[in-house]
């Protein structure tokens, strides 16, 4: 059975959050700056959901979602905390049904999860009348490009995560799997 080193994962997610707010905005060209809006702690939440179970993913998503909301507080707090906690739990639930963890499965989870997260956040803002954009426009303009970028981020993070953040307690099971 595989477990995660949670301390290291949390530190890594904090570093990723700093990169996301302070470095990535410079790397994205102006014309794309409101289309590519990656959420790297969310990618880490998906890894936690896949490797450490649904309860930890729920708490991880809740904590980092709340942190992101607080850091970008303009209209309201809670949209990302809600979305990331819920999706962490759901994806964790889904992942616990499967015994193997392939790259394709993890990336699928990240892609699917980020699409759902962005839609969920959109509907929360729509509910509170803070946005009046149409669903089709949001999907085309922001959700899909961000989904692709986050899947690539997941691909880039996959090897470091497996090497440094995951300890395999029983090597025999790993060999059998």
């Amino acid at each position: 059975m595989m477990t995660m080193r949670m301390n290291r994962t949390i530190v890594a997610a904090l570093v990723l959050l700093l990169l996301q707010t302070a470095v990535i905005p410079w790397a994205i060209p102006s014309a794309w700056s409101d289309r590519l809006l990656p959420h790297l702690p969310f990618v880490m939440t998906m890894f936690v959901a896949a490797f450490a179970g649904r309860h930890r993913a729920f708490l991880f998503g809740l904590g980092f979602g709340l942190l992101e909301d607080t850091l970008s507080y303009g209209h309201m707090i809670g949209a990302y905390a809600f979305g990331m906690a819920l999706l962490g739990y759901l994806v964790g639930l889904l992942a616990e049904q499967r015994t193997t963890r392939t790259l394709a499965f993890t990336l699928l989870m990240i892609g699917l999860g980020s699409g759902l997260l962005d839609l969920l956040v959109y509907f929360v803002y729509k509910l509170f009348l803070l946005t009046h954009l149409s669903v089709a426009y949001v999907v085309y303009w922001q959700v899909v490009p961000t989904l692709l970028l986050q899947t690539f981020a997941g691909l880039a993070l996959y090897l470091p995560v497996r090497r440094w953040f995951i300890k395999t307690a029983a090597p025999k099971e790993e060999a059998a799997a």
């Binding site: 707010t21 302070a22 607080t70 850091l71 970008s72 507080y73 303009g74 809600f82």
Partner: protein, 274 residues
């Protein structure tokens, strides 16, 4: 289910309120210090490469600047005469001290330290806080024009909401009143932003006001919220608005809202202060 109810309560509670609690301020300041360390050097490197690309334009730009400086010197002389005249008239008309201080704005330079990646809350963060005298709803500008308003303040950092986030029909709206530079007494409108067409609009203009392409839109300073005369943009077109009674102008914003490096916070004199 309880979680869902709790979240809706939190979201509703944080929707329209002023001031922030100590955990928020602590988190903002703790992250702000590290973000500041990262954002500045990365920005320096990024703008260095952008400047390299624009090296060929420097000569042309220089010539333009020379012309502007020449014009500026002339205007300055003109301005000095008008200012001294104005002071004399104020004395003659017995202006109170408050009225005299009314347009005496201070500008505080602030370094941008982070920008958010939330598509519906695209705020930026600056390295000036309540310690430096920043208060909520102060105007934030760049050399080009109005960027936004301060939305929340902590001890060392504050969050700025750009004018592109100000939707006139959202529940926590702050309306910006605007006018046309040089036609202050006839043209008046409200600034709003249409995210779908990515255009800034000035709505509810009187149909008799002559608003033409190329006019400069500035803040009107009505209601004491925003200082007067901050540049918002230039008019691209003016057409009849939704109900046919008023006009709506499309505006090209003067300031850009991303890849910001340094901004200025406008501190207006407090009218309540003795």
């Amino acid at each position: 289910m309880i979680g869902l109810i709790l979240f809706i309560a939190v979201m509703g509670f944080t929707l329209r309120r002023s001031g922030s609690t100590w955990p928020e301020r602590f988190v903002n300041d703790a992250f702000g210090s590290v973000q500041g360390v990262l954002y500045k050097p990365v920005g320096a490197v990024a703008s260095f490469f952008r400047d390299l690309g624009r090296l060929s334009d420097v000569y042309k730009e220089n010539e333009e600047l020379r012309k502007t400086v020449a014009r500026y010197t002339q205007d300055r002389i003109h301005y000095n005469t008008i200012e001294s005249d104005n002071k004399r008239y104020q004395e003659l008309l017995h202006f109170t001290e408050t009225q005299k201080q009314f347009y005496n704005y201070k500008y505080l330079f602030a370094q941008v330290i982070a920008s958010s990646t939330n598509p519906y809350d695209k705020t930026i963060k600056i390295l000036l806080g309540s310690r430096d005298g920043i208060k909520e709803r102060m105007a934030v500008i760049t050399a080009d024009g109005l960027v936004g308003l301060v939305s929340s303040v902590s001890e060392f950092t504050s969050t700025v909401m750009p004018i592109t986030e100000m939707d006139p029909s959202s529940p926590d709206v702050i309306s910006i009143s605007a006018t046309i530079s040089g036609k202050e007494d006839e043209a008046f409108g409200i600034i709003e932003y249409n995210k779908e067409s990515k255009s800034l609009l000035m709505s509810k203009i009187d149909e008799n006001a002559k608003v033409e392409k190329g006019d400069t839109v500035v803040t009107a300073g009505k209601g004491n919220l925003l200082p007067k005369g901050l540049i918002i943009g230039t008019v691209l077109s003016n057409q009849v608005g939704d109900y046919g009674l008023t006009h709506t102008a499309t505006i090209q914003p003067a300031a850009k809202f991303d890849h910001l490096y340094e901004v200025m916070v406008v501190v207006a004199p407090d009218p309540d202060k003795p």
